[in-house]
């Protein structure tokens, strides 16, 4: 199977799109990341990553949901595609496989 590379930040953004489930757009994703991970990120970083994910085919987008508080401008709402959710699952699967391989002694918190 051809693996598509998913960067760490891309993975987080993609997860957020999945979490937000239909309500994901630039600002909501960025605020969600801040709340969930405590990372300070610029809006531009999220914006660029979303565009990149769309180019890779992990998410798709449509315009909609204009509200008054954003001056009547539409949002670009992102939803995860089948390819995207496959990619996320692949990553998780690979991680758990790798976790299996780690000898338990190697990860002891500290030497006794």
């Amino acid at each position: 199977m051809r693996r598509t590379y998913l960067g760490e930040f891309e993975e987080i953004v993609l997860l957020m799109v999945a979490i937000l489930d239909g309500e994901a757009y630039g600002l909501s994703v960025s605020q969600e990341i801040e709340q969930q991970t405590g990372r300070m990120i610029t809006f531009g970083a999220v914006h660029n990553t979303l565009i990149r994910l769309e180019e890779k085919g992990f998410v798709k987008s449509q315009l909609g949901g204009a509200t008054a508080e954003r001056g009547g401008r539409r949002k670009r709402l992102f939803t995860i595609t089948a390819h995207g959710s496959r990619a996320l699952q692949d990553v998780q699967q690979l991680r758990s496989q790798l976790w299996q391989l780690v000898p338990p002694s190697a990860l002891k918190v500290s030497g006794i």
Binding site: L27, G44, H47, E69, R74
Partner: protein, 888 residues
């Protein structure tokens, strides 16, 4: 939402910044998101925090940080520089060029001429720059120069006294090489008693010369030969010229009348780019035999120079104090004069017109080089402007093409590629043509400049290619940007588009620029022409017409007989033996002490050595006293000048003024002293002022004295009868009195013109450039008018139907162009005036710049412009309106 609480708004300028720079595709959603973000922070942390965060996040979505959404591609788009596309650009460009042959020809012609001019000038400048650059370690080689300062005058000279070489060798043992040399620029060689040849490039050098200057030997040992007296090394071409073969080692010949030389070796011809391109090198030890005039005196400076090499990494300034010591020790000047030795870098010599030197090649002034470089660039620019103007004028036709291309999917970059491709074709074609043209022009240019240019195919081809690319960009970039910007909908709409005002401005501005350059050049030509006329016609204070100069070397004792024989000839009116004509390059300059009691006070003066016939031959005007008489000559018939003998002086008015008198008669009978052997003598006569050197300089005090030892020339005033028979008779008489010497004669008028060779050359070059510039301008104007008038065919038809006369239509069509030329005239006049004024400043005697010169140039330019435009405008005006108004 509560309508009473307004949504907080982020700073307006930040919003604008976002709208301006953020990609259009994603602007809406990003604006919305950021607005929400602002509101969120406004509620949480207040206005300041919110504004700060807003700004930060706006920055994060501006270029170069922001990522652009790729547009969805629903058609196949080939890569911009795909070979197929490049082939397509070139093919379309080619078709377009063929479609408008007249325009293409104008472009090609203009660009070829522009490129060739630029290239030739580039080649010339490069050649000049290369002078002596090939000498090994040339940056450590210096010429020893002297600077003499007296009152307001400063004299720079690369000519040094002969004993200085030895003195430098002794006093500066740390200098690795010191070479004395003597240049002989006007000699003759005698291969056999029958075969005498002029030799203008003989160089006497010490063997150390070979350490500083490259000499490639074919046969013989140069160092050995130059160490011994009476040895010479010939260049290959010189050997052929002398003996007809290069296999001549061991053969002998004479340099001048008495010095016998043996050929000790053959060297390759020196390259064109050296200041000392010697035909033959003679060992320095021969000099004393050849030229015995004060070779061991510190006071004597004739044609000797010294070149040295400094130790590594040493600046010439370091030696200043020690060099001053040397001056004080051997050649301390007296009175108020100061003297200084400076070291001039070898590579600077060629560009130093201030210092007189011993070089065979005259120096060129950097200003002159800069001027020509600039003119070359301007000619090329004018050609580029033609391209820009015609391309933008054609834009209306091309607009449809651009519209269709864009609507079937061409990107802007591809269109730009196409338009630059067209310029590239033209520039490439022009480059090839100019390479061909250069082959034709280059030999002529070399003859004309009397220089050999350094021409190497690889470098020239590189230069051509670089210039062609530059030209293609300069000419093609603006049309490409401009044409590719058209919006397809507008371009394809059937409404006729009129040129935007900005574009018209640009086009008109460029035409004005072209004509400004041409006009400046034209005015320059007119003014130089007038100044050249002044050289020819200015009253120099003596008669220059029909005076023949003949070199004499015969013994003083034979001269009366020689003179009598000359006077026997029918066509000879008067004869005078002298050291050069009144105005000559061959001058004795020395100091003149108006009052021998106060030797500290002196002025610079020119000594004219002449006999009693001088006045009659040259028609000098006697103001007081008497001129020299034959018996004055007899009293000092031979030998070097000495202060013991009795002399008399005839002086010019300038001397009278220097003595402080107002009337010439007051000077008669007074004693003055001159620097030549400190001779003191009485003034017996005063003549009207005459020029002693070129009009670059003011009239100097001049003293005429007789001194047969120095008579090097005979001047013959000819009667206006048949010159050829007189000239033949003079030569016949001359040959009776001279053996083993070359007969050399020329008219004084011609010699006078030689003083202005450089100006004559500048004049010719400028004339050519001005002509070229004007021609290219007119080509452009012709193309432009053809096109613009064609577009107004319908308008003209309507006007004619409504009763306009042909004259009024021609006037209507021509006015626009004439106006531009007039504006150019207004801009060009002050520029030309300023530049030419600067040029005229180099002459003490100059013409006044008169208003009619400008009027003439302006009228000429307007006339030529009118003529160019009238071809088209008259054609258009005569056209039958039925044709032009017929619907397609």
């Amino acid at each position: 939402m509560n309508p009473k609480v307004p949504t907080p708004a982020p700073p307006r300028w930040a919003q604008r910044l976002l709208a301006w720079l953020h990609p259009d595709d994603t602007l809406e959603e990003v604006e919305g998101d950021l607005q929400e973000l602002y509101t969120y922070w406004y509620g949480r942390a207040g206005k300041r925090q919110a504004a700060l965060r807003y700004l930060l996040n706006v920055l994060s979505v501006l270029p170069p940080f922001v990522r652009r959404r790729k547009r969805e591609k629903d058609y196949y788009q080939p890569y911009l520089l795909h070979p197929d596309m490049i082939r397509n650009y070139l093919k379309i460009a080619w078709r377009n060029l063929r479609k408008y042959p007249a325009t293409t020809a104008v472009h090609l012609l203009g660009l070829t001429v522009g490129l060739t001019t630029c290239l030739l000038i580039g080649l010339f400048l490069r050649s000049e720059w290369l002078y002596d650059r090939y000498q090994p370690q040339g940056e450590r080689t210096y010429r020893v120069n002297l600077i003499d300062r007296h009152e307001n005058e400063t004299e720079y000279s690369g000519i040094t006294p002969y004993p200085m070489g030895e003195a430098l060798r002794t006093d500066f043992p740390d200098w690795p090489v010191v070479v004395s040399m003597h240049t002989e620029g006007d000699a003759f060689v005698a291969i056999s008693p029958e075969k005498l040849l002029p030799e203008k490039r003989a160089l006497f050098v010490e063997p150390q010369f070979l350490d500083l200057f490259t000499v490639e030997m074919v046969t013989g040992n140069a160092r050995q030969a130059l160490g011994q007296p009476n040895q010479a090394i010939l260049s290959e071409s010189t050997a052929k010229r002398y003996f007809g073969t290069t296999d001549v080692v061991g053969r002998t010949f004479h340099l001048g009348q008495k010095t016998q030389l043996q050929v000790a070796g053959i060297m390759r011809d020196m390259p064109g780019q050296t200041n000392l391109p010697a035909n033959l090198l003679v060992s320095y030890k021969t000099l004393k035999e050849y030229f015995d005039l004060g070779v061991d005196q510190w006071g004597m400076r004739s044609q000797g120079s010294i070149f040295i090499r400094l130790p590594e990494n040493q600046a010439p300034d370091k030696y200043r104090a020690r060099m001053q010591q040397l001056v004080n020790k051997y050649m301390k000047p007296d009175g108020t004069e100061t003297r200084e030795i400076v070291l001039q870098p070898l590579h600077a010599i060629h560009f130093d017109v201030q210092a007189e030197g011993t070089d065979f090649v005259p120096a060129v002034s950097p200003t002159y080089l800069w001027t020509f470089g600039l003119i070359g660039l301007f000619v090329l620019l004018i050609a580029c402007v033609n391209f820009i103007n015609l391309s933008t004028a054609h834009a209306m036709i091309r607009a449809k093409e651009v519209g269709i291309r864009k609507s079937i999917g061409a990107t802007r970059h591809q269109l730009m590629g196409q338009f630059i491709g067209e310029a590239g074709w033209l520039a490439g074609g022009a480059a090839l043509l100019s390479l061909g043209l250069m082959q034709v022009v280059l030999p002529r240019l070399e003859d004309f400049l009397e220089r050999e240019l350094d021409f190497r195919w690889v470098e020239v081809a590189g230069m051509v290619a670089a210039l062609a690319v530059l030209t293609a960009l300069a000419a093609g970039l603006y049309p490409a940007l401009f044409l590719s910007r058209f919006k397809p909908i507008k371009a394809l709409s059937s409404r006729v588009q009129s040129a935007s005002s900005g574009q018209v401005w640009l086009r008109q501005g460029l035409v004005v620029f072209q004509f400004t350059v041409s006009l400046v050049l034209a005015v320059g030509v007119a003014i130089i022409y007038q100044q050249m006329n002044l050289f020819r016609e200015k009253d120099l204070g003596f008669q220059r017409e029909a005076v023949l100069t003949v070199d004499v070397t015969s013994k003083a004792a034979k001269r009366p007989a020689f003179r009598d024989a000359l006077l026997q000839i029918q066509g000879v009116e008067a004869v005078s033996f002298a050291f050069g004509a009144p105005t000559s390059n061959n001058n004795f300059n020395t100091k003149l002490i108006p009052n021998p009691a106060i030797p500290e006070q002196w002025v610079d003066a020119n000594i004219k050595i002449a006999d009693a016939g001088y006045q009659k031959t040259f028609g000098l005007k006697l103001l007081a006293g008497r001129f020299l008489e034959p018996q004055d000559t007899l009293t000092n018939a031979s030998g070097m000048p000495s202060s013991d003998r009795k002399y008399v002086f005839v002086v010019n008015e300038a001397v009278v003024r220097a003595m402080g008198y107002s009337q010439p008669a007051q000077a008669i009978g007074k004693q003055i002293q001159i620097g030549l052997n400190d001779i003191k003598a009485e003034i017996v006569g005063v003549v009207a002022n005459f020029h002693v050197s070129s009009l670059h300089e003011a009239i100097k005090p001049a003293v005429i004295m007789n001194f047969p030892y120095f008579y090097e020339t005979a001047h013959l005033k000819l009667r206006p009868t048949s010159y050829p028979s007189t000239l033949a008779a003079v030569e016949g008489v001359w040959k009776q009195f001279h053996t083993n010497t070359l007969y050399n004669s020329r008219f004084v008028e011609d010699s006078l013109q030689e003083l202005y060779v450089e100006e004559a050359r500048q004049f010719t070059l400028l004339r050519i450039f001005a002509g070229l510039a004007l021609v290219i301008c007119c080509l452009g104007l012709w193309g432009l008018s053809t096109f613009l008038i064609e577009r107004r065919t319908k308008e003209i038809g309507v006007r004619k139907v409504l009763g306009a006369s042909i004259t009024s239509i021609v006037a209507l069509l021509s006015t626009d162009f004439v106006r531009l030329v007039l504006i150019a005239f207004v801009i060009a006049s002050p520029i030309a005036w300023y530049v030419m004024n600067q040029w005229l400043e180099t002459f003490v005697y100059q013409i006044d710049i008169e208003w009619w010169v400008f009027a003439l140039a302006g009228t000429l330019a307007v006339g030529i412009a009118l003529l160019t435009v009238s071809f088209q405008s008259i054609k258009a005006a005569l056209m039958n309106p039925v044709r032009s108004l017929r619907s397609e």
